[in-house]
Amino acid sequence: MHDVNTLAWIILLLPLLVAASILFGLKKMPGLSALLSTGSVLITLVCSILLFSATGKAVPVTWISIFEFKVNIGLLVGGDKDPLAKGMMFIVTFIGTLVHIFSLGYMKDDDGKARYFAGLSIFMFSMTGIVLADNLVMMFIFWELVGVSSYILIGHWYNKDSAADAAKKAFLTNRIGDFGFMIGILLVWVLTKQIEFAKFTPEIVANAAKSPLFDIAIIAIFCGAIGKSAQVPLHVWLPDAMEGPTPVSALIHAATMVAAGVFMLARVSALIGASELAATVILWTGAITALVAALMALQQNDIKRILAYSTLSQLGYMVMAQGIAGQGADAGMFHLYTHAFFKALLFLGAGAIIFGCHHEQNIWKMGGLRKKMPFTFWTFAIGTAALIAVPGTSGFFSKEGILHAAHAAGHDFPWVIGLIVAFLTPFYMTRLFIVTFLGKSRTENADHAKEVPQIMFVPLVILAVLALFSAYKPIAKFLQAKGYAHAPEIDPTFGWSLFGLIAGVGLAIWIYKGREKERINIPLFANKFYIDEIYNGLIAIFQDAIAGLLDFIDRFVIDPVVARFPAMTAFTAGSFFRLFQVGNLQGYTFLFGAGVVALIWFLLF
């Protein structure tokens, strides 16, 4: 069993098997489907833990080979030098397991329970595929599958218009990014003749980087990450995706799928390192996303949306780190790990709150939950502490790592932006915390809130422990992460971010302590910089313009020249050919004889 090949294939195929058996046979037995799905993800978790100490190599299967274009179904697990897949695999299966367990309680009475768990299993299959893929094409295929499964899960309650719209929006927005990704893959293949990650050696990359197209290729690949990791300007789908069931938000839209973009960037870091332009674009996109998302989070009232914007902002950090490259890329991946734990914790906590408050999501209609849901309160507090980077928690170390790397690499402006975000994050999270848990209950729902069933505690406790301690040596080493905890250096970065933390928390306490409703109104932030409205307007204008243009082209160019004429020709030719099928036997023998004569003439003369 300690063989990388066996383990990796089990991890990849087991969820697919489960999803298929649920869809094709067990649809009518939701209880069994749920258990099967949970059991399978538990097995994959065990496998991915075994993977850390496993030996050997995964054997690729040639899928298709056309001229020099060869695509394997290969699994890249990597050795000690390249622990990326192992660590990520653990995160995915671990969070996956907890979310499955949480879902057993959360989705207990849902009508589409079997469908929900099948969706989760398909997601686990696709996500595993991204993590294990050893080449860009295979990664792209699973990339698309992840998009599909996220579409299914966001739209789980498809009877709700907003859910169906959100699913569609997520799918279409991702499609824009994926289109860029596809072009990028093609360009990279054209330039390097390689698609396998392991084959991007320094010589090949340096050779390819001579071409002016190289920068474009890397930026195009980055488009994929912009879509999947919800960076500005394609971030609009993520907050809407909160329409899905909350465990899904925790698994897909906080911890794993959205991190796939960052993971992909880490995979191709060899390529990014060779393109200064692309690295700069990535750096700034990340920094801007971190800032903009944090500003938007200030004025949201829906608990899940606040968390969604904070996810955006943290993803901005990670992407920024990938743009720094080198030490920064490691710090980015490390932040991905720690963030996965504490953000999943926060989302599951939010799920518990929503569950306890009878599906109320507006924080202003909660309040006083500390006494009603003490357990959730404490775990949520730990998650918040990690997110706002209280020194000593896991979030602190990983975030410091990124800011340090930015400072060390001389990217001063992004560094400042990072520090501003480090002030904004404590502010809006403290606001959320105070309004939700402290003070008096403001509505009936909040007044009657009850602690959630015990099966939902298990994930919360485990995650809380990890949110606190995952940056410390034993755990971080186990994850084979490269940037684990170190004693804080007393330098400007540390000083400023500590100041930001204290200032943010203090300011939020001063403003929101004991308040019944919002005190400050900044419409620009509350309305998310009007980006959705701008997009809608742009789409409307472009649609009209493009539709007019297309109509013109269609009517006067395509229709007569491209469509009508060939179609007419083909039909005429076809009808002409039909004339040979006279139906008369003698006609046939005659044509047959003519064919013989023609053939002999052709061959002999």
Partner: protein, 108 residues
């Protein structure tokens, strides 16, 4: 005047038979006659097979491979006729005609 028979003489006759058969298939309208002409084409092949076999000698012994095929052709032709005539009879029973220009319901 006596001339020796050569391979070409046989091939010429065989070719003539084949052409007559083909012409009959193309020109005649009665299914039975067409069928007979088809058999004529097979006989043309048989004739040339025997000729090739007879004139293709090694150490004075003809190449009997060709004559093996000939017997197969005769047998197969018999089977073909048996089935073919049955079908033509069935056609005659239902349509009361053996004229090819009457079987044209499917075309295009």
């Amino acid at each position: 005047m006596e001339t020796e028979l050569t391979l070409n003489h046989f091939l010429f006759v065989s070719g003539l038979l084949f052409a007559i058969g083909l012409a009959g298939v193309l020109l005649r309208r009665n299914l039975i006659v067409i069928f007979m002409c088809l058999e004529l084409m097979l006989s043309a092949a048989n004739l040339s097979l025997v000729a090739f076999s007879r004139f293709n000698t090694t150490d004075g012994v003809p190449n009997y491979d060709g004559q093996v095929l000939l017997f197969f052709i005769i047998t197969v032709a018999a089977a073909e006729v048996a089935v073919g005539l049955a079908i033509i009879v069935a056609l005659f029973r239902s349509r009361e005609t053996t004229d090819v220009s009457d079987v044209t319901s499917m075309k295009g």
